[in-house]
Symmetry: C2
Subunit: 150 residues, 2 copies
DNA sequence: TACGTATACATCGTGACACGACTTAATTGC
DNA sequence: GCAATTAAGTCGTGTCACGATGTATACGTA
């Protein structure tokens, strides 16, 4: 039984082995690449007056089930947040006039989120910029996994 | 003229073109994979009482130039944030007893950030969990780039 | 039909985090 | 020696997520 730390009762009983320095380094490099991309994305979003959350929300809204309108709860699920976090995000999107809410006529508890033309334009511009960046940094991402190990 | 490895259209139109639906979808899938990983990471960090920023900070501090102590400004650079954002993060890390500040004797303006044994233990546990997850989801990441386009 | 329960969303208070603008302290460059 | 620069920290503001809670609407069943 390996005992690398004094109290390891709760989680990770197996593989409690201390990572090697190279493993720490690989994780740091991976995170660094992620941060670089996310920083780019944040700046690109800011350039059109958005935040990353709003960009991601628009992306989900746009692509949800080939155009079907998404509800707040479904948006939360896609964004992996709580319902009320998504509701708040939608409120900020509405305030920014990027989407509208519409009560689902078939279930009046549900709020459908619908992109405005302005939201659609913002998203299209951001998407174009992101596509270019992703194509450009494809190599950096692939390297992480090919160099990493094994 | 630089050749951006894109041969679809003329250089001029490159950004103005509306992304296709499949391109929106590819971006949405990429973000979804990223969110899945980041949500895992956030949960793993929360399980040891950390946030993702703190985990990333510890990772940088640990791996900075093979053990050399990092300053607040250098940490900011690595994390791609502003100096004062890093200073605030370090303050929270200090409060959580994960690191200590130490004035650099050779330049008393600089604050060196030094991990405590507790910080080291937290990081090691998180790193081990992340290594496993990354190895497991390697395929998902690689698919994103192979399926996307050429 | 009536009514309790589950569901979907919204609201409120709190905390982490980032930022711009500003301050303080130490170093540097003449 | 002293102004300019640099490193770090402080303050106020905004985004965002969360738990706890509130409020409709839908549903299930007696």
């Amino acid at each position: 039984m390996p005992l690398p730390s004094d109290q390891d009762d709760a989680l990770v009983v197996e593989d409690a082995r201390q990572p090697t320095y190279d493993e720490f380094l690989a994780l740091a490099n991976f995170r660094s690449t992620l941060r670089r991309f996310l920083a780019f994305s944040e700046q690109a979003a800011a350039d059109v007056g958005l935040t990353m959350q709003r960009y991601q929300a628009l992306l989900v809204i746009k692509t949800y089930r080939a155009g079907e309108h998404i509800s707040v709860g479904e948006l939360a699920e896609q964004l992996m947040t709580r319902d009320h976090s998504a509701a708040e995000l939608v409120s900020r999107l509405v305030q920014a006039k990027l989407v509208k809410r519409k009560t689902d006529p078939s279930d009046r508890r549900r709020s459908l989120v619908i992109m405005t033309p302005s939201g659609d334009r913002c998203l299209a511009r951001l998407a174009a910029v992101h596509l270019r960046e992703l194509r450009a940094s494809k190599g950096a991402f692939l390297n992480l996994f090919n160099v990493g190990k094994e």
